[in-house]
């Protein structure tokens, strides 16, 4: 299966007794019940429900490892660190010690989705049925491509939003195709009132769509393909 290197991914380690309730209280998905060996994605949103960062959390047992978007890391740390107050939460940036990759167009078994496992030097987290995130210590990753072209074409076909393309601070999670990461039954977090109102009223504004590259307004295109592209447009 093709593997692409993620040069713009961040990796942070979150340690402390209060980590899971802390992340749960500040992000869209229900992460408080995450257990060792499981993986979950969640979105940190601001008071306008716009995305700060979308994290993939690995529960390693004694700590949580979170993969996110490197250009958003500063903003994420500023957003979270001032809210730690007296809680037992310590964050360490381990981006420079690791390489991250995406294996795509794969066929993960249903019972392997949202779990991760170590395969030699590589930790493989199965995000969905058709793609996984791979984390390896620096220089020990699999052979991969640095060219995003094939990955982006695959994303267009499968309507997968990505950091820096669709997942940006310009959009809320519903607009960029991350509605499955907004848990319907969880309590309050920053941006929740806006997202709950959108969902209950059925008004989500713009949505992620596959569009015809030639006829779609270029400003709406977020990932450009040959014939088809991804765009965030009014539904």
């Amino acid at each position: 299966m093709p593997i692409v290197a993620l040069s713009d991914a961040s990796l942070t380690l979150w340690r402390g007794a209060d980590v899971l309730p802390f992340i749960d209280g500040l992000s869209t998905n229900k992460v408080a019940e995450l257990s060792k060996g499981q993986l979950i994605r969640t979105v940190f949103t601001d008071s306008n429900a716009k995305i700060i960062d979308c994290l993939t959390l690995f529960h390693m047992g004694d700590f949580i490892v979170a993969s996110g978007y490197l250009p958003a890391l500063d903003k994420l740390l500023k957003h979270t660190s001032k809210k730690i107050l007296g809680q037992d939460v310590v964050i360490t940036d381990i981006t420079q010690r690791n390489d991250l990759f995406i294996e795509f167009d794969c066929e993960n078994k249903t019972n392997e989705i949202s779990t991760f496992s170590a395969e030699g030097e590589i930790t493989r987290g199965n995000i969905a049925s058709n793609y996984s995130i791979l984390v390896a210590s620096k220089g020990n990753g699999p052979s991969s491509s640095d060219d995003f072209t094939e990955f982006n074409l695959w994303r267009i076909t499968n309507k997968i939003p990505w950091n820096g393309y669709e997942i940006t601070n310009s959009f809320h999670p519903f607009a960029c195709g991350l509605e499955e990461l907004v848990h319907q039954q969880k309590g309050c977090y920053i941006g929740q009132e806006i997202l709950a109102r959108m969902r209950s009223r059925g008004r989500q504004g713009k949505v992620l769509s596959q569009v015809d590259t030639l006829t779609c307004k270029p400003a709406n295109i977020t990932t450009m393909g040959d014939m088809q592209s991804l765009a965030i447009i009014r539904s």
Binding site: T12, L13, P21, F22, D24, G25, L26, S47, M60, F63, V65, L77, K78, S81, K82, K83, I84, L85, G86, Q87, V90, I91, T92, D93, I94, R97, N98, A118, T123, V135, A136, S137, K138, G187, C188, Y189, I190, G191, Q192, E193
Partner: protein
């Protein structure tokens, strides 16, 4: 994956909030409620903490405690002991502790001049 746990990796430098000497007031209705709750026993204290979370980012956490592990400032008002965690002092300076009766029952309410906004249910602030 190299988690950096085998050797020393420095944690990310967190924003350390300013520690301030907290001044706060308690309304008459809140004093009456505290008198009912504590009786003549003043060994217990009202701990007013702040947790992350809620629609606006911070939530009040009120507890009646005898002691706490948290590093706190202790404030005495009319014989009542009020504990404010040092880590939250910048968010709680100048607050008024009030008690209000509502349709759904009564409860303590924090009037906070530091809060820029509060969520619809009034449980959290930013």
């Amino acid at each position: 994956m190299d988690c950096g746990t085998c050797d020393t990796v420095s944690p990310v430098q967190m924003i350390k909030p300013e520690v301030v000497d907290v001044a706060l007031t308690i309304s008459e209705s809140a004093k009456n409620m505290l008198t009912d709750a504590f009786g003549d026993d003043r060994s217990h204290a009202l701990l007013i903490g702040v947790l992350s979370g809620g629609c606006s980012g911070y939530m009040y956490d009120l507890q009646i405690v005898e002691t706490t592990d948290q590093d706190c400032q202790e404030i005495a008002i009319d014989g009542f002991r009020v504990l404010v965690p040092t880590a939250s002092s910048h968010l709680l300076d100048g607050i008024e502790i009030d008690y209000v009766e509502k349709l759904m029952g009564g409860g303590f309410k924090i009037n906070n001049p530091n809060a820029e906004s509060a969520c619809g249910c009034g449980e959290s602030f930013s």
